[in-house]
């Protein structure tokens, strides 16, 4: 019998270009906030999700290094998780697994990333390591330009125009404008999206997530260790799945099979349907991945997500509300930290103390993290 697992504390840093803060500073800030929020429990393990420290900071052994910046962790389990820009949620699921299997009672899970140590061209190339190095990146492709291939294919296949696609970034920026932790806290119009700088045709600057630094942390605990904490949120299900690293090998490049598979598994395990979800955070590196994510989760029929967003679905008044944080697009995407932000945001929504736009009295929440263009997918479902 698996032990039930609860989120008993969360801590976030604001995402920004934080030149004066290193990995340890960011990690400690988020982790100490989360431990304080959890009432300073003793932790059995520290799990750290991160993608780029071996490139940007020349640092492996990251979890041990960072754990030493916290009190009372010397001698405890400290383990790192790298799953491209899905590292954060993969780390949360690693922490969940340690508790569910009985190997630990209380686990601190943190995601941390420094994206701004070098010029953007290097950050783009490093982040693009989520894609196929030998047969995509070798040819000059990037995480963004590969999504541009999908966006053009999507718009042609389903007959969607630029104006309709722009509804996604408009909604994301509107949500982020009220999120104190977001990197881009301003609203934009469709006209601004359509006239923003072309990054990789048809992806424009305002379709694309920004480059920023950040850290997020959550404290997970088994039922007995969670005790009587009245704001504990239950993790109802977790699931992970994979797909090809390389869009050319997919029978239908417009389907995120890993996300579809993980969603089916998670819904079944939690005993719910997509329509039961009240609040969702999903992985929109650019507009197209956000839309394909909605379709993979079963929240929209295939080819209809852009139109549904344009018609006002998925807002703070909808069921479900999607990316009330502003998503990767506007909350920001500090790569391996992002999934921990998502998990923390869902927990805060269900607790009712999310500091930004709130879903109306939510009971069931879900976070979807993707690696690259969906070569890995992690899902966590939480229940109030």
């Amino acid at each position: 019998m698996e032990s039930k697992v609860y989120v008993i504390g969360v801590g976030l840093t604001r995402i920004a270009r934080l030149y004066d803060k290193g990995l340890t500073d960011l990690f400690a800030e988020a982790s100490l906030k989360a431990l304080e929020d959890a009432g300073w429990p003793e932790v059995d393990a520290v799990v750290v999700g991160s993608m780029l420290p071996s490139i940007h900071n020349e640092q492996s052994s990251l979890a041990s290094l960072l754990a030493q910046s916290l009190p009372y962790t010397r001698g405890k389990m400290a383990v790192g998780v790298e799953d491209a820009d899905n590292s954060g949620l993969a780390a949360v699921i690693k922490g969940y697994s340690l508790i569910a299997s009985g190997l630990a009672k209380t686990v601190l899970v943190a995601g941390v990333e420094k994206m701004t140590e070098y010029p953007s061209a290097m950050a783009i190339r490093a982040l693009s390591q989520a894609c196929n190095a030998q047969h995509e990146l070798f040819h000059g492709a990037t995480l963004i330009s590969l999504q541009a291939l999908l966006m053009r294919l999507y718009m042609n296949t389903y007959g969607i125009d630029r104006d309709t696609m722009s509804a996604w970034p408009v909604l994301m920026h509107s949500n982020a404008s009220e999120n104190p932790y977001a990197q881009l806290r301003f609203k934009v119009t469709k006209e601004q999206v359509a006239s923003s700088m072309m990054v990789s045709d048809p992806i424009r600057l305002l379709d694309s997530s920004p480059i920023g630094d950040g850290a997020a942390a959550i404290v997970l605990a088994a039922s007995d260790a969670a005790g009587s904490r009245n704001n504990a949120v239950e993790i109802a299900a977790v699931a992970q799945a994979s797909d090809t690293v390389g869009i050319a090998y997919r029978e239908d490049p417009l389907r995120l099979l890993a996300a579809e598979k993980a969603a089916r598994t998670a819904y079944e395990k939690a005993g719910i349907k997509a329509r039961d979800l009240d609040v969702v955070e999903l992985h929109d590196t650019t507009t197209i991945l956000g839309l394909l994510g909605l379709e993979a989760l079963g929240l929209s029929p295939r080819g209809k997500a852009a139109v549904m967003v344009d018609e006002g679905e998925f807002s703070s008044k909808s069921k479900p509300s999607v990316n009330l944080s502003g998503g990767l697009k506007a909350r920001g995407h500090p790569a391996g930290a992002t999934g921990v932000y998502q998990a923390a945001e869902i927990a805060l929504q269900l607790r009712g103390d999310y500091p930004g736009r709130r879903a109306p009295d939510p009971e069931m929440g879900l976070a979807l993290g993707l690696g690259g263009l969906g070569s890995t997918a992690s899902i966590i479902v939480m229940r109030r």
Binding site: I55, Y118, S120, A121, M122, I124, R125, A126, S128, Q134, H135, E136, L137, F138, H139, G140, A141, T142, I144, S145, L146, A148, L149, L150, R152, L153, N156, M197, M198, V199, S200, D201, P202, I203, T244, G246, I247, A248, Y249, E251, P253
Partner: protein
Amino acid sequence: MVRLSISRHWREKGAYYRLEGIECLDCGKRSYPPAPVCPHCGSRNVRRVKLPRTGRLLSYTITYSIPEGFREYAPVMLGLIELDDGTRLVSQLTDTKPEELRENMRVEAVLRRVQVDGEYGLIHYALKFRPHRPGGRKE
């Protein structure tokens, strides 16, 4: 941060220079690059084949946000290409202009310089794709 290795590139020579893929002797489907099992059905019963050097452009993009190491090709034109036998791959587009690109346009493989590692002086070549020129100059 550009660190091109000789061996990493050399062992891909079949895929990079000759457009070698695999054909599955069980399900009949082809795929690129060569792999130990058929990605469509999981069969180990595969053989190396040379793929057709012409196909069509399923999708394309013109990238202005250039990754380190590709500045000289800016803007980078990239295509999702379906070869005449149905095999798909992602490759750079060359010998054309952004405004000439169209969905479904015919393209053909051509050997071109892909990356130069300034630090070590390595120059890497591979196949790119250009607009198909029926009866045109052969390379």
